[in-house]
């Protein structure tokens, strides 16, 4: 009888210690996540350059920051600003999924968003107004391609708070397709 009681007591203590350790680990994880810097990585259009994403991930890893990828969705004039955008979301979700997977593979904490606006700039303003970002990493578009133009980047420097890193458009490199094509 005594042995049974002792075994039971040991089991209860062990289970309690396990639960406490799991709780402590979770709290520590939450604290670490709460204190982590947040890097905004806005994306527009159907495709995302892999070198740009790789660079953003490198920056996030170096800063031990959370990379928040945000798809900026323009709302057509004939729709109200708070309209649901199924077609845009069809484009956005595989991209965000692919970015999240790339971030996990690179050991970088990530989060994702879709933000609406009449224009990309308007969507960015909305996003910045609602959430805190310590840094914004923007991939400039090659001339004529959809994305952030030089004028957009200049506007961002003027309007957005915090540090802004502009990634120069570059070659995808041999065998490297834009991310949307890979994700689709």
């Amino acid at each position: 009888m005594t042995i049974v009681l002792v075994v039971l007591a040991v089991a209860v203590v062990a289970a309690g210690a396990g639960a406490w350790a799991a709780l402590a680990a979770r709290r520590s994880r939450d604290r670490a996540a709460a204190g982590r810097a947040r890097i905004l990585f806005p994306i527009v259009g159907r495709a995302l350059s892999r070198p740009a994403l790789d660079a953003a991930l490198r920056i996030a890893r170096a800063e031990n920051a959370t990379l928040v990828a945000c798809y900026l969705a323009p709302v057509p004039l004939h729709l109200p600003l708070d309209a649901a955008l199924a077609r845009e979301c069809e484009l956005a979700l595989p991209l965000l999924e692919a970015i999240e997977q790339a971030a996990t593979a690179a050991g970088v904490a990530s989060d994702t968003r879709i933000e609406r606006g009449r224009t990309y700039r308007h969507a960015l303003l909305e996003l910045i107004a609602h959430e805190r970002y310590d840094q914004i990493v923007v991939a400039a578009a090659p001339e004529g391609a959809p994305g952030f133009t030089a004028a957009d980047v200049a506007w961002l420097l003027h309007r957005a708070p915090g540090e802004i890193v502009v990634l120069r458009p570059g070659d995808e490199g041999p065998g490297r397709r834009p991310l949307a094509a890979a994700a689709a």
Partner: protein, 362 residues
């Protein structure tokens, strides 16, 4: 196309429809040209008073850009996009004012005559013999979400002019002899129609090529015999974004409605991080057209079962449950087991993180 065809009138008609639909519409600047029908059409719409600017001893009336930005309506009407502002204002040109307004998140309806387009300036001068001084960069028009052509046959426009519907009677003879000649108007009409046709073509091609095969199949598919309704269990943390994304895609495939549920424990106030995540989920739900529900309660299964019964859920999605200690497992069965028991007839899907799949499986 040209003065007098009814651009301002048409803009006001559209604006009245928007106001009727409940949007906050304001007249930033309107040029009624003393046309009674236009003035009547503007009735009932809020107006930002013009500001007076003195230039070379002449008082000019201009749009009050700061007042418009401060008023921040949903939609502003700004007539005469190619107008040149009086010196000393924020911008030299009205289209630059419009860019500020758009950047502030305000939609704009505006008007312009085709002869003001920069690229057409030479062509119009050649066709009509009249050089238009106020021009508009083509990029401004190209960036518009929608361009509506207001078309009128040259004969109808000349009749409107003769009837005094365009200019006061004293200006009619001069107008008929100069710009408003039938051949000029026909040329302008052709230029305007070509311009819009090119634009429509440019928009149509990429959109058509964007339509995916499965979208077309989905559009042709018969409606679901049984209405599906999905419920995704979320918590205010980043991984919920993934759960919502997967749930929405499933809802799209099944043609069902999507509800998102957070069972919120009241034992402690939400931390700042949680509030931020919840707001992000609220915005994601809105853009996806999903319904975000927050149920107070201590037990996720009880909350989920209640909501599922109330809303007729057929499909439930959730993330991988957090690992539980041995004691917790002894005290209460697994979350998934309890959900399956509490929700008979409801499919349950656990949304995994695909990045964690072993590499050889990819």
């Amino acid at each position: 196309m040209a003065a007098g065809v009814g651009k301002t009138y048409r803009m006001l008609q559209e604006a009245q429809a928007e106001a009727e639909a409940g949007r906050d519409v304001v007249i930033g600047y309107l040029e009624p040209h003393r046309r009674p029908a236009t003035a009547i059409q503007a009735e009932g719409l809020a107006v930002i008073p013009r500001r007076r600017v003195t230039y070379r001893e002449t008082t000019l009336e201009e749009m009050d850009l700061p007042a418009l930005l401060e008023r921040a309506p949903e939609l502003a009407l700004i007539d005469e996009l190619a107008h040149t502002n009086a010196p000393g204002l924020e911008h030299a040109k009205r289209f630059e004012d419009v860019q500020d307004v758009l950047e502030a998140g305000i939609d704009v309806f505006s008007t312009v005559n085709v002869q003001h387009l920069e690229s057409l300036n030479d062509q119009v001068a050649e066709l009509t013999g009249v050089r238009v001084r106020e021009t508009l960069p083509d990029a401004v028009l190209a960036s518009a979400d929608e361009v509506v052509i207001v078309d009128l046959t040259p004969q109808a426009l000349i009749e409107r002019l003769r009837a005094g519907k365009v200019y006061p009677p004293e200006r009619v003879p001069a107008a008929l002899n100069n710009f408003f000649r039938a051949e000029n108007l026909a040329a302008l009409r052709e230029v305007a129609l070509r311009q819009v046709a090119e634009r429509v073509e440019a928009h149509r091609l990429p959109r058509e090529s964007n339509v995916r095969r499965d979208d077309r199949i989905a559009e042709q598919a018969a409606p679901q015999a049984v209405g599906e309704r999905l419920l995704a269990l979320i918590t205010p943390e980043p991984r919920s974004q993934r759960i919502v994304r997967r749930a929405w895609r499933s809802a799209q495939r099944l043609g069902g409605e999507l509800d998102l549920l957070w069972v919120s424990s009241s034992d402690r106030p939400a931390a700042a991080e949680e509030r931020e995540q919840l707001e992000a989920l609220r915005r994601l739900a809105s853009v996806l057209g999903a319904h975000l529900l927050i149920e107070p309660g201590e037990d996720v299964v009880d909350g989920a079962a209640r909501v599922a019964r109330e809303r007729g859920t057929t499909y439930l999605l959730m993330g991988v449950p957090h690992p539980r200690g041995a004691l917790a497992r002894l005290a209460r069965p697994d979350l998934v087991d309890r959900l399956l028991r509490e929700l008979p007839g409801v499919d349950v899907r656990i949304v995994a993180d695909r990045a964690k799949r072993p590499k050889e499986d990819r």
